[in-house]
Symmetry: C2
Subunit: 391 residues, 2 copies
């Protein structure tokens, strides 16, 4: 009961094996939950104990290795045959005496791959320093090679089936943002608005149920707007304040992030209104410039030139590739829209472009998730690009 | 604006420095977001880029090091003075050329600590293999020491202020579970029940708003009950099926997990009813046995002896310490209620005891979150322990 057809997973695996071959990797240990999902369909909230795929260059099908109780989930969500799903005993879990990566090392050795070159995702979230140390302990004859982002780079260009899921996420995102803006009112507790945002995220549309996004809703207000990753409180929203809404929708682990700014009051300050107009103009201009063949840094330059006219600049990147992912991040960690990134845009790359401008006491942000098309770009959500004024 | 009084954080830091001294650690790098929160109050969804505290044995106050844009969040949520909060430039983020842990290494060296013994949390979720490698690269003269769970073990015994938050989470948990059971009905999509569960989690009570739990709601039904970590689908719940409800509530990052089983139909099968009675009886017995001075494994033995009478056994542990945490897990990774764990229970240790029994085609689970008291235990939530039958 995989999400995509088996042949799509097979093609992805073949691409991974090509990249392995180029990098002289004979066995790839895939720990990133998004990469595990991408190659086999595996989907479960089980990444809090170590798990991985082991893909050998000379085999067509990877091994799934995870906690014993999660093997049933692997059988349920992947196309892997029974004998490629291997669970480790529960005594490996949170134990001072043994570690799941010792088990993984044992499996690799028993298959006769103990002296091979082993690719590991050194910077994947759930591949800890100890995971690597224990794998090395269990495979003293192996040669370890960095395989960071090897699979992530394959994920960069989406299939039509993936794009369809991102369009569905876009439809959910419309409801999520609309719910947030409708519900925002002075006197309503932040946690109650967030509660309805979550409800919209999961309920989705009548056709498409929602999945949990990789990042929680961010809706800071007041002085907290300058601290972008603080979450909500029990405090009520107040009049004459701006609220930044950094939200998302998710469909079968495929994301559509979306950000807007709202002002609670009839008369937003003139500088905020101006900043909003200028930023939206910049977003429109930059999206209009997107086309295959452009470099990531050239996209950023359109924005940079636009704000320079107002004497402004922005240090952080203006966007990043995203799609399939798990907490704590929906970004793919490959392409960033920023100076120095020379990646050439191609059709069906998908990005979140988020333009936020922060002054001393106010700020404005607006974003779109989009795919690169043959001639330009297609945005997934459809929410007006403007400062929402709730008077 | 810290959650607890500064003196409570100072006491925790002093305990950490004692443990450092015992382990001959001169500088401790704390990467676990729960440990960062515990020692300073820092709370933000920023752990998707590397961040840490650096605590020197001869200094009373740690340094916070994180992404530049998150420094404002650190100033907002911690007691740290301005000069102890250090942000790294955005060019370190997701870059092939440099890594935030190089920046951390530079800070450590500039403080004159480059040749010291450095404790690192080798198995913390967000301390990746590359994080460690880059820290080593930047500190060639340092001696690295494993500091796994050093702070987690201090977290094991809660203060009264922490216990109060867990009681508040318990009140929210009552609403979360009640909402789930009320909303469960044949014909309702799984995602719609989950949507209302999320809403209850965040909305909390009129006095206490909710925070996001470290694990998403798990409500598997049908054949998926044998795969405990699969999340929801768009499918409607069906009649004559059981549903496992593994839920939680969270208050300022402090958790109260709770699990129950429901049956959708008037007449649950007799073996399920029997299993439920037997399991609840075991839960009651085991909770009644809790007292300070007992060893963790002795708690498990009460349960083991109980189910042995029915000719049953359970491989996985029956509980674990929990409290303050971030995704992907609310467990503290220290004490497990299982054979071999000789930790002696003390007042204000807090656990989630979850008893699940899985047969071939059916199963039942029931759990309680509790603290050890002077004489026994206090459960945080208050939901009947039984099979819920929704006829």
């Amino acid at each position: 009961m995989t999400l995509f057809k088996e042949i799509e997973y097979r093609q992805r695996i073949d691409l991974a094996r090509e990249r392995m071959s180029e990098a002289a990797i004979e066995v790839l240990v895939v720990s990133d939950p998004a990469n595990m999902n991408y190659l086999t369909g595996y989907d479960g909230w089980s990444f809090y104990t170590p798990q991985c795929l082991v893909l050998a260059i000379d085999e067509a099908t990877p091994l799934w290795i995870g906690r014993g109780m999660d093997a049933a989930g692997a059988r349920h969500t992947t196309f892997l045959p029974e004998e490629r799903v291997i669970g480790y005993p529960d005594r490996y879990v949170h134990s001072p005496h043994c570690h799941p990566l010792n088990f993984v090392g044992d499996v690799i050795r028993e298959r006769g791959w103990g002296a091979r070159s082993i690719g590991v995702e050194m910077d994947a979230y759930y591949f800890t320093a100890r995971s690597f140390a224990e794998l090395q302990n269990s495979l003293p004859d192996a040669r370890f090679v960095t395989a960071d982002l090897l699979v992530n780079w394959i994920r960069l260009i989406k299939s039509e089936a993936e794009i369809e899921l991102m369009r569905q996420a876009g439809q959910i995102a419309n409801r999520v943002m609309t719910t947030a803006i409708e519900r925002l009112e002075p006197g309503v507790r932040e946690c109650d608005v967030v509660a309805d945002v979550y409800r919209a995220q999961m309920s989705g549309t009548p056709e498409y149920g929602g999945d949990y996004p990789a990042i929680v809703p961010m809706m800071p207000t007041g002085e907290k707007t300058s601290a972008p990753h603080l979450t909500w409180t029990d405090e009520p929203y107040r009049s004459e304040q701006m609220v930044n809404l950094e939200l998302a929708a998710c469909r079968h682990r495929y994301h559509c992030p979306i950000a807007r700014t709202a002002y609670l009051g009839k008369r937003p300050p003139a500088p905020l209104v101006e900043l909003a107009e200028h930023t939206v103009e910049g977003l429109n201009l930059t999206l209009a410039a997107i086309r295959p063949g452009l470099r990531a840094e050239e996209v950023e330059l359109v924005w940079r030139n636009h704000i320079a006219k107002a004497g402004l600049e922005k240090e952080s990147r203006i966007g990043y590739s995203m799609g399939l992912n798990y907490p704590p991040d929906w970004g793919e960690h490959t392409v960033s829209l920023r100076p120095g990134d020379k990646t050439i845009l191609q059709p069906n790359m998908t990005f979140h472009m988020i333009l936020g401008m922060w002054m001393d006491t106010y700020g404005f942000e607006c974003s779109e998730s989009f795919r690169v098309t043959d001639k330009g770009c297609e945005t997934f959500a459809d929410v007006p690009r403007k400062l929402f004024v709730k008077g």
